[in-house]
């Protein structure tokens, strides 16, 4: 596929803190630092994979980018415009360009609406089509995602998980977006259906020249679909690189440990597994300096004092670690 070098989306120093309320007066007693200063960019037409373990803030980041959650701090530039500064009405217009596909295909479709209404809703909101024209467009979208004409008047509970996910994809496509945030779109699906949906997403990317931010904790899925991969740990991006570069030459100690956990489907192959000590620290009180220093076997004194910044170590391989 043709790669464009234009940065479609640029995230600069984005933070999202959730206040913790306590006591009778509901005073803020602390913050969950779900996203704690993230920098990255997505080029037009590419798929950026975002991996990390549960609770590292990857889904929160996705929602902050779409302003489904308000960022605490930072800048999100879409096509050169900081969308965090947009007013409500301007942001509404912006939503035509950015869409989201959700993880849980059972919770992401309103059970009281027919498929036609669900997929057609964005067209109603933006007055894109009405009546007969709308129905034709909805049908076209359903065909694009592999569903049939007969499905339009049915309700979500009459479909399987894979079909529902296709409906969710059709809804995201209804406004003809440029960027789609895929929040673990295949995690809830059976393995057999997973590859079908992934292939569909790749086809659609070519067909509609979409850009994906693909959030997942499944390293093999991310490897399959992404052009570049970004690794998150405790609210921060620790490494970003082109996919093969990252999987072949991981630099950050956390990335190395994470990649050593991918199972190899061959019992003969022996590989060193890096087992991390301890648990992920709480995002309420992340360690000072490098967030990973408490579990890193290479940790030096400066690691617990100075926060490492993302550094380019050549050929767009960024890593946030004092070792490099």
């Amino acid at each position: 596929m043709m790669k464009n070098q234009e940065k479609l989306l640029e995230v600069k120093g984005v933070k999202k803190y959730f206040p913790i309320k306590g006591g009778i007066l509901q005073k803020t007693v602390g913050y969950v630092k779900a996203v704690d200063g993230v920098d990255m960019f997505i080029k037009r037409g590419e798929t950026l994979g975002l991996v990390g373990e549960s609770g590292c803030g990857k889904s929160t980041l996705g929602r902050v980018i779409l302003r489904l959650l308000d960022a605490t701090e930072g800048e999100i530039n879409y096509g050169g415009k900081n969308i965090l500064k947009l007013k409500k009405e301007q942001m509404r217009e912006m939503r035509k360009k950015m869409q989201i596909i959700f993880q849980d295909p059972y919770a992401s479709l309103n059970p009281r609406m027919t498929i036609g209404d669900i997929v057609g809703e964005p067209m109603d909101i933006f007055n894109l089509a009405k009546g007969q024209e709308k129905e034709e467009k909805v049908l076209e979208l359903l065909h694009v995602v592999g569903l049939g004409t007969q499905h339009i008047r049915r309700y979500p509970h009459e479909f399987s998980g894979g079909q529902r996910q296709r409906i969710g994809i059709a809804r995201a496509l209804a406004v003809d977006p440029e960027l789609i945030i895929c929040d673990e779109p295949v995690s809830a699906l059976d393995v057999s259906v997973r590859s079908q949906v992934l292939n569909l997403m790749q086809e659609l990317q070519e067909k509609f020249s979409l850009t994906y931010l693909f959030i997942s904790h499944d390293l093999s899925v991310v490897k399959h679909i992404s052009d570049r991969v970004s690794v998150m740990y405790l609210g921060k991006v620790v490494e970003i690189a082109e996919k093969n570069e990252l999987y072949d030459k991981p630099l950050h100690p956390y990335t190395r440990a994470l990649l050593s956990a991918i199972p190899i489907p061959d019992p003969e192959v022996k590989r060193e597994r890096i087992i991390l000590e301890g648990d992920v620290p709480s995002p309420v009180n992340p360690p000072s300096g490098c967030h990973f220093n408490t579990r890193c076997k290479y940790a030096k004194l400066e690691c617990s004092k100075i926060e490492p910044q993302l550094k380019d170590v050549g050929s767009e391989h960024f890593v946030a670690c004092h070792l490099f």
């Binding site: 929602r63 779409l66 489904l68 509404r92 939503r95 035509k96 950015m98 869409q99 989201i100 959700f102 993880q103 849980d104 919770a107 992401s108 479709l109 309103n110 059970p111 009281r112 609406m113 027919t114 498929i115 809703e121 964005p122 909101i125 933006f126 569903l147 049939g148 004409t149 007969q150 499905h151 339009i152 008047r153 049915r154 309700y155 509970h157 009459e158 079909q163 969710g168 809804r171 209804a174 406004v175």
Partner: protein, 306 residues
């Protein structure tokens, strides 16, 4: 079973005609129809409603007609007979007629008061659940106050102070029994608000109005309908208690509660019919609503039953 095979037969992509999907409401109705006690409850309620609507056509007398002036002493406290199915009271009024007309009053108050409390409760509960924070604190506090309030005393005070009338009755019952609806609505809104389809609606640019009316309200309706059905029953009970105490519907209007009270003094001397028939009527109507409400709950939320 029938429906299932039907869906199987039309494998995706092969069917030519358009297929209407079965909505969750339709599903619930099919489940409800299988529930015998719910159908019994529904039948009771429907029969009593029809009786109330067509009262003049199914009764032979006027509910206020004191037959002792026409037929003499034989019409006074006459036992049940072919002419007076439920007997007559001390003024010679036909009790069957008065029980049928009494259904009008009970149902009217039951529905109107429930309607008022649903409207107040759902609006306040939804606001509390949707906006949260300070608004939620105030509304939740108000709900708790209402729950802790000696309800009967409030209505007694109102009725004693203002001239008694039907609208006063259901207004005062309505403004005091919305709290359970507010609680149900608030909890449901908080739950539905966090669903991904609400987020999806925000992501496609839907505003507050669309989200509340298209995505949240239709999904919290089921538990509210159940609550309302059960509430009609308990409000009818309340109205009867108030009438029994003499603070409800004023005589000579045929209120069931008041009839029980009037007949009470004759009960032990053998003229049981004056009290017993209105009592049976109250029981049948309240039982009908409760059975129907329980069945509705099972039908609308099948997970609960399992």
């Amino acid at each position: 079973m029938e429906a299932k095979t039907e869906i199987k037969n039309i494998a995706p992509g092969r069917a030519k005609r358009k297929i209407e999907g079965r909505s969750l409401w339709m599903d619930a109705w099919l489940r409800l129809r299988k529930n015998k006690s719910a159908m019994f409850g529904m039948t009771l309620v429907i029969i009593i409603c029809l009786a109330a609507i067509f009262a003049p056509y199914i009764t032979r007398y006027d509910p206020y007609d004191q037959l002792i002036w026409k037929e003499g002493a034989s019409a006074k406290l006459a036992p049940p007979s072919a002419a007076h199915w439920f007997g007559t009271d001390v003024y010679g009024r036909d009790i069957y007629t008065r029980v049928v007309y009494g259904a009008r009053i009970s149902l009217q108050i039951g529905f109107a008061a429930t309607g008022i409390s649903v409207i107040i409760g759902v609006i306040l509960g939804s606001l509390a659940g949707y906006y949260g924070g300070f608004i939620d604190d105030i509304i939740s506090w108000l709900t708790n106050v209402i729950f802790a309030f000696p309800f009967l005393l409030f209505v007694l005070a109102l009725v004693a102070y203002l001239p008694p009338s039907l609208p006063l009755m259901y207004m005062s019952i309505g403004i005091i029994s919305w709290a359970s609806f507010a609680r149900v609505a608030r909890g449901q809104v908080i739950q539905v608000k966090g669903m991904e389809y609400v987020e999806a609606a925000t992501a496609v640019g839907g505003g507050d109005g669309r989200i509340i009316f298209k995505h949240i309200l239709p999904n919290i309706l089921a538990p509210i309908i159940v609550q309302a059905t059960l509430e009609v029953g308990s409000i009818i009970m309340l109205e009867s208690s108030l009438s029994f105490l003499g603070f409800g519907v004023q005589p000579p209007k045929p209120a069931w509660g008041y009839m029980i009270n009037e007949g009470r003094q004759f009960f032990l001397s053998g003229q049981w019919w004056w009290s017993v028939f209105p009592g049976i009527a109250i029981m049948a109507l309240v039982l009908g609503f409760n059975l129907f409400g329980d069945g509705l709950r099972d039908a609308l939320d099948p997970r609960l039953k399992q």
